[in-house]
């Protein structure tokens, strides 16, 4: 259990983390979502006692991080895959960490096996690919067999096989009753792994909700219609008690999954249709709407404009 109460971090005038209050519970994967620069990494560093909060408090199982005896046995974290001395072998990197927390040496071989790095255990870390570095970081997090695990953007830079592996790893850790807290800036990624969702933007809490609840609220389904006889169609639907919205570009939208009904009505009244397509708004769009005002690095000076087909290839969620 990680508990944050009014956690705040200020760098001079700039507020990086602004009064965050939420809890990360055991037994589920909690996704920590926010655009780049939202304060996710800063929050995680404060949880680990690396950065000092300007105000507020964060506790792990009721205690401050530096009050934990052998902290790696309580909480394991992956912050930065590149945080390894290039001249040191994977084995020695993990051995130093194990020794500092009184973890038996044999655990090093065990976690190297878990992440699949046994073959390169004695190789210098500077020869590692990004994905291998990520696996080494995860091995370090698992070293003390902790009840709480924290991963900062673990799928970044990984190949599809690695991404698949991490998703399953996080789910199985949560299934063992552990607390899993994972950050990402991709909604689609969270939708696949997280049971609970904490969304922040510009350091502020925007949502703290179950994944199922978030999907229910935000994945809007509607029907898109194009017709050369717009006015007539609107009248017909109106009489049938169906609300139609003008969606720009000559298209009409109807909430809900009423495509069959609309098709039948159009046929009965002889209205020509050029398009009648059921649509599903993606979670990515919902997330972008939620954080739109708090996105720090806009591509343009004005509010972010997203082309309709933007990301169509990958935002399957």
């Amino acid at each position: 259990m990680i508990e944050l109460v009014g956690l705040t971090k200020r760098y001079g005038e700039k507020v990086a983390v602004d009064g965050l209050t939420f809890s990360v519970r055991p037994g589920i994967v909690t996704g920590f979502l926010g655009p780049n620069g939202a304060g996710k990494s800063t929050t995680m560093r404060m949880i680990l006692g690396l950065d000092r909060p300007t105000a507020g408090d964060v506790r792990i199982d009721g205690r401050h991080y530096d009050q934990l005896k052998d902290p790696l046995t309580y909480i394991g974290a992956l912050l930065d895959a590149k945080a390894v001395h290039g001249g040191r072998s994977a084995y020695h990197h993990l051995l130093c960490l194990a020794q500092s927390n009184g973890i038996p040496d044999r655990r090093v071989a065990e976690v190297l096996d878990t992440v699949g790095l046994t073959a390169v255990a004695k190789k210098k870390a500077k020869g590692f690919s990004y994905g291998m570095g990520q696996r080494l970081g995860i091995a370090a997090a698992l070293l003390g067999d902790p009840q709480i695990l924290m991963f900062d953007e673990p799928v970044n830079g990984l190949d599809p096989e690695g991404i698949h592996w991490i998703r399953n790893l996080m789910k199985s850790l949560a299934a063992q009753g552990r607390t899993v807290f994972v950050s990402s800036h991709l909604m689609s990624e969270m939708a696949l792994t997280a049971d609970h969702l904490v969304v922040i933007g510009q350091g502020r809490l925007l949502a703290d909700t179950s994944m199922a609840g978030f999907i229910r609220q935000n994945s809007r389904s509607y029907v898109r219609i194009r017709s050369p006889q717009r006015e007539r169609l609107v009248d017909v639907l109106h009489e049938a008690g169906i609300t139609v919205v003008e969606a720009g570009g000559g298209t009409l939208e109807v909430e809900g999954g009423k495509a069959e009904r609309i098709g039948e009505l159009a046929a009965r009244y002889g209205v020509v249709l050029h398009e009648l397509s059921p649509q599903q708004a993606s979670l990515e769009e919902a997330f972008m709407q939620l954080t739109a005002e708090s996105v720090e690095y806009h591509a343009h000076a004005g509010p972010m404009e997203v082309p309709q087909d933007w990301g169509a290839g990958w935002k399957g969620a």
Partner: protein
Amino acid sequence: MAAVQVIRSEWTKIRSVASTVWTLSLTVVVTVALGTLISALSRSQYDRMPVRERLSFDPTVISFAGMTLGQLAMIVFGVLVVSNEYGTGTIRVSLAAVPQRGTFLFSKIAVAAALALAVGMVTGFAAFFLGQAMLGSLGTKIGEPGVLRAVIGSGLYMALIAMFSMGVAAMLRSAMLSLGILMPFFFLISNILGNVDATKKIGRYLPDQAGSRIMQVVPRIGDDTPYGPWGGLGIMVLWVIAALAGGYALLRKRDA
């Protein structure tokens, strides 16, 4: 957090990187080789030396002549031990494992200083015996008054130089910045300040000048240094304490 665990961990850290081996072996090789060479040269030049120089001829100091250069490798060792953590970002991993920052820093320094002391002692004794062998009849013996103190002192001096460098690196974090300050300071500035009359009185309170007094056996003619061999080493220890205290204060205060 048991300090013993952290010391074990720091020992694994220090022995698992190549820079430890090459900086320390360079220290030994450069100091001993150069000391031996200068001892051999001094012997062949002795007859042509002015009387004044012959009277203050200190065979012990001459055998340590290689240390001026050899200590630079020791400085690199001290700087890298600390700055490696920052250059690679492992400082965050290390401090997440050992959140007690004092325990972390002083365990690291204790391990590195013990290693530097061992290497310093080996270097000191090797440089002394090889140097005296080259000096032949002009040489001295380990049993002569003050000589053993000077040889042991040379090992202490090396360890203190390394510790001072660790303190500076803990304050500055960057290896380039630390070396950019320490190298010219010990190799040039300190020598210049110590040899120009106007600044001599200040120069002799600098860590290396005060500390190296311990290696001197025969007093220089007209020497008015206000401290003795142990007094000089004490001044160096104060510098080391100041550097380490500064490093600790900043580590405690800073976000990692």
